[in-house]
Each structure stands twice: as structure tokens, then as C-alpha cells.
Symmetry: C2
Subunit: 201 residues, 2 copies
């Protein structure tokens, strides 16, 4: 089983992804991990393979970049990173039973026929969610936050639509679109998992 | 609990609605019933109330128009029907525990905060579904069917968007959007019902 989760910034898509991966027993990968690996395109395949092999997000996401002595000191060019990302995402998918958040995995993996989720919410909900998670001293106005949503999601859309097929966030490209406005994400996860398990003919 | 189901023509939205209403124990109303009642705007409120009271679709949808001696012989003007529809849909909602397919019930009932579903599918799926249900001798080409989809859904969109708020089929206006492409609708109904039951904070 392969599940991809695309999401608007602030909609709780990552939470949906993490909890759903746990519920379904899937290996969880988020965009930061994929990016982190892909940023080091001068690293050998064995390194990337070992990162993937040893289990994703939980062990590496925030530390391995700094703790590995053989990390490249300068970031790789953007196109190299994008190419590397695609390779990595396909390598992850080939191993099966995984859930990937972001990084246009829905399009990159279309030949694998993943179950594709899109998570979204209205601005009020996204603002509330961002405020609840803000670092101390962070104090953006609603207007500033909404501007951020537009910028971040605009970036996601641009990268996604580079790869063609269908526009980011357009229902045609997804199997299920979840509005998390006024929803307690924890509570809908078991039903969501059941839906996915029963979604093949 | 109030659920509304909007849907692309041929996507199986009505099947989703019927099965879901059964699963959740909700009274089921489809657009034909609402239309049928609303068409007779010269009928007194007692009549409409009795139709609603006596249980919707199963008993009346296809026969009461002809079997009632006091039905008006000419159809009511469109605007009257639209106004009557809104009244009827609100009357249905006030009685609670119902599922309404179509007729912009999602917008009309926004103060009731219904759970709003949108059902869609790709053209190949919709064509297959239409063919499976076609009357004998009916023999449309794919192109003709796709043209029909556009026309019918265009009509739905026009009426829906008259009422404002958000465009028909735009994710912002729905709590859950289901792509029925390659899905066996029967199989996802229990999970869908659970999702809705758990979707309030």
C-alpha cells in the first residue's frame, strides 16, 4: 500500500499523514526527510539507501544532516535536488507500504497508483492551527499569516505543476479530499484508514 | 445529523447518498423528490408536509404527481419552484436526521451546518457507469456522453452558484470530496459513515 498526502500549509496534513501511517502500519516519510536526503546528491547511493533502510523520519529528520561527517557543505543545485528527490521517492515506493507527505509524490508515483489524499482547511482554521504551534514571541497578524499561506502553497503548486498531469489541489488528481475545518484529526483517522483499505475494487 | 451530497453526473453520487442514508439511519431525499414537491407550489402546505411526513423517496418519487387529484396541470414558474424548493429543503432539515442529494442543499442549509459531501469521478468511470445503466437501445458515443456530462453539470453549477457562497465543486465548500474512480461504492460506505460520525469536535 502506498499513500500520498498533499496539503495546504497549516491544514494539519502532516498530522493526518503521521497518524494515518501509524494506523495503517506504513513507513512515514515527510518532505523534510526527502529534501534532506536529496540535498546531498554528492552522497553515494549506499548512504541514501541506508537512510531509507533505517526507517525514515523518526531517526533522522532533524539531526542526521549535522551529525554525518560526510555531508556536503554547500547545497546541491535545485534541479539536481529535484531529480534526486524523484529518484528517492521512487526508491521509497518500490519498497512498498509507505506514506509520503508532500514533494509531489502523488504525481511522481503515478505509475505506482498510490492512494492520493489532499488535506485543506479554511483560513480561520489554518490561522488557529498556526497560532497553537507558534514559537514563543512569534506574533503574526491574520493578514501576515494568510500571506504566508499563499506564498508557501504557491511554491508547492509551482513545483507540483512543473511535473504536469493535473494542477495541485485540483480534485481530479486526488482520491479523497479532506477538509479539516472544525475537525479533530485524531478522531477521523480510524475511519480514514478503513476507507483507504476498502478503496480498491 | 444532516448530510448533503452534491455530485457530478454519472459519478455515483446518488448511490453514495442512498447507501449512506441507510447506513446512518437517515431519511433519504433526492433531487427528484424535492423537485416534484416544489413543482406543485399551488398545493397547500399541509400537502407538502404530509409528503415529507410520510417518508420521502420510497413512497412518492415516481407516482404521487400523477395519482394526486389536486396536482396543478401546468408547471409553476421556475422562480416559484426555486423558492418553494428552498422552503422544502429547510423544512426537511428542521426535522433533522436526513440526507439530501442535489438541489444545492449544501448552500441552502448552511445555517444548519450540514456535513457536505461532493462526489466526482473521471470521465472513463462516468462513461462506464452510464453505459451499465443505459436503457436498451441507447447507444451514445463517448463524445456524446462527455458532452452530456458537461451540460448537466453545467446546469447544476449555474443553479448552485446563483445562491453564492462558493462555486459548485470547489473544495472550499465541502467537508469531504470523494473520487469514485475505480472504487466499489458499497465497500467504502461503512468507513464513510464512521468518518462523518467522528467529524465533529
Amino acid at each position: 500500500m502506498i499513500v500520498t498526502v498533499s496539503r495546504q500549509f497549516g491544514s494539519g496534513g502532516r498530522e493526518v499523514g503521521k497518524r494515518l501511517a501509524d494506523e495503517l502500519g506504513l513507513q512515514y516519510y515527510d518532505k523534510e526527510l526527502v529534501e534532506e536526503i536529496a540535498n546531498h546528491t554528492d552522497l553515494n547511493e549506499g548512504y541514501v539507501a541506508s537512510v531509507l533502510e533505517n526507517g525514515g523520519f523518526k531517526h533522522y529528520a532533524f539531526t542526521f544532516g549535522r551529525s554525518m561527517p560526510f555531508v556536503s557543505p554547500t547545497p546541491a543545485p535545485v534541479t539536481d535536488v529535484l531529480v534526486a528527490q524523484q529518484k528517492i521517492i521512487k526508491a521509497i515506493a518500490k519498497r512498498g507500504n509507505c506514506l509520503i507527505v508532500g514533494r509531489s509524490a502523488d504525481v511522481i508515483l503515478k505509475d505506482f497508483r498510490p492512494f492520493r489524499i489532499f488535506v485543506y482547511a479554511d483560513n480561520a482554521e489554518k490561522i488557529e492551527r498556526c497560532r497553537a504551534r507558534a514559537a514563543e514571541g512569534e506574533n503574526y497578524t491574520d493578514k501576515q499569516l494568510i500571506k504566508q499561506f499563499k506564498e508557501i502553497d504557491g511554491g508547492r503548486k509551482k513545483l507540483h505543476d512543473l511535473l504536469g498531469t493535473y494542477p495541485w489541489g485540483d480534485k481530479a488528481g486526488y482520491d479523497l479530499m479532506l477538509n479539516t475545518t472544525n475537525i479533530d484529526i485524531k478522531k477521523i483517522i480510524p475511519a480514514l484508514a478503513e476507507y483507504i483499505k476498502n478503496s480498491t475494487k
